[in-house]
Amino acid sequence: MTETAEPDFEVIVIGAGIAGCVTAYQLARQGRSVLLIERGEAPGSKNLSGGVLYSRGIQRVFPDFLNEAPVERRITRNYINFLNADSSVAIDYKDARLADPVNAVTVLRAKLDAWLAEKCEEAGALIMPGVRVDRVLTEDGAAGKRVVGVQAGDDELRALVVVAADGVNSFIAKEAGLREKEPQHHLAVGVKSVVSLPRKTIEERFNLTGDEGAAIAAVGDCTEGVGGGGFLYTNIDSLSIGIVVRLDDLTAKKKVVTDIFDHFLEHRFIAPYLEGGELLEYGCHLVAEGGLDMVGEIVMDGMVVVGDAAGLTLNTGLTVRGMDLAVGSAVAAAEAINSALEQKDTSKAVLARYRDKLFASYVGKDMKTYAKAPSFLEVERMYKEYGEVFANVLYGAFNLDTQPREHLRKVARTSLARSPLKMRQLVKDGIAGARAL
């Protein structure tokens, strides 16, 4: 199908988060007329992420990203932690290779999104902050419903392509019929604080030098056994600390999310990191946890869906990703839209190249590789029993109490026998973990 009515813009992007900004930036650089609409008073004012951005993708879009963008620290230390009430078993992975080339950085979205929006403006996009899009405008065509623009209050703006980049709870994609209401186990709630601390204190507490950064991920007692996890990331002179808990499990266990967050902040192994800090910011966000199952229809006549709105987030237990997937989807979408505009055909059939490009890129391939991760992370035992068994085995090895020692294998067997875990569960979870990760 070809366009007939005169549009106000070639492309309207709804939402100035990472996916929206990168899409708008690339299309504006191609000379396309682009309107970027943001509901918040400024780009970034309503956006929230844990804070680690795997940066290789965005460096392809902005080659000088690491020097120019408001990046906090470059992650060289990943600390993966089974956190129990009185013990903790962790893998502390530090690697200089992660800094050269840089692989991941911490960011604060209020700064990063504002910078991205500036880049969009420099490239020629028009930014309209403080505006809520009420609905997309549609017309019936021979091939069905076609999106032809947006309505914001009394204003109607027409475009050849609309990009829905309005976040995990995308009202636009739902209203257009592209997404159904998600089941609760696909969704989690994230709660986060940014806590200020002197730069030197952070470097001493986390064993960092210069602009090195650390990312701590924890499961277990940090969420009081509710499916999810805790995180603690270093910024230049602040820490980002938070939890993410699955809504279905939170409801089933009748826990209150703020009680869990307080519990994490006050945990004996976490509180010392925060000692003397002052709260700068408190926020929350809905988080997509469904993996590949959440990525449904992302293209229709005249519209594509990108970033969180397309369900593109990935929690493997080791890495928690969203921002880099948003970048990847924006790159794929911008290429497909630009090509469709050149062809003067923005029908679903032509815009479907976005989906093809997405699934040919690291984004779609990783979503497929880790398709089984969400169900693996729903294993209850991960959030209590495993951490306790690991700690008990190590306690048996390190607690030299003048009693004769036993081989570690026997200590492990005894620890397992004393726990509610069964060997068959261990084997089953081991196989599931190997397949998922």
């Binding site: 939170l250 409801t251 209150v256 910011e281």
Partner: protein
């Protein structure tokens, strides 16, 4: 770090209130029939919702 209540935490943020168009409205019938009201109270990190003595959910 000094423990803070949720209202104290929220004072650290800067808000622009949309007074002309409050967008949260709880359907009391659905909240009561499905038990969703209690879930709203438990899940909201900003403590926007509260359960009143008559079982209704206030915002």
């Amino acid at each position: 770090m000094k423990p803070l209540s949720v209202p104290e935490r929220l004072t650290k943020n800067r808000f622009n209130l949309d007074e002309q168009e409050s967008h949260i409205e709880v359907n009391q019938e659905i909240a009561k029939a499905t038990g969703t009201g209690k879930a709203l109270v438990a899940c909201c990190p900003a403590h926007v919702y509260a359960e009143e003595s008559d079982g209704t959910i206030s915002v």
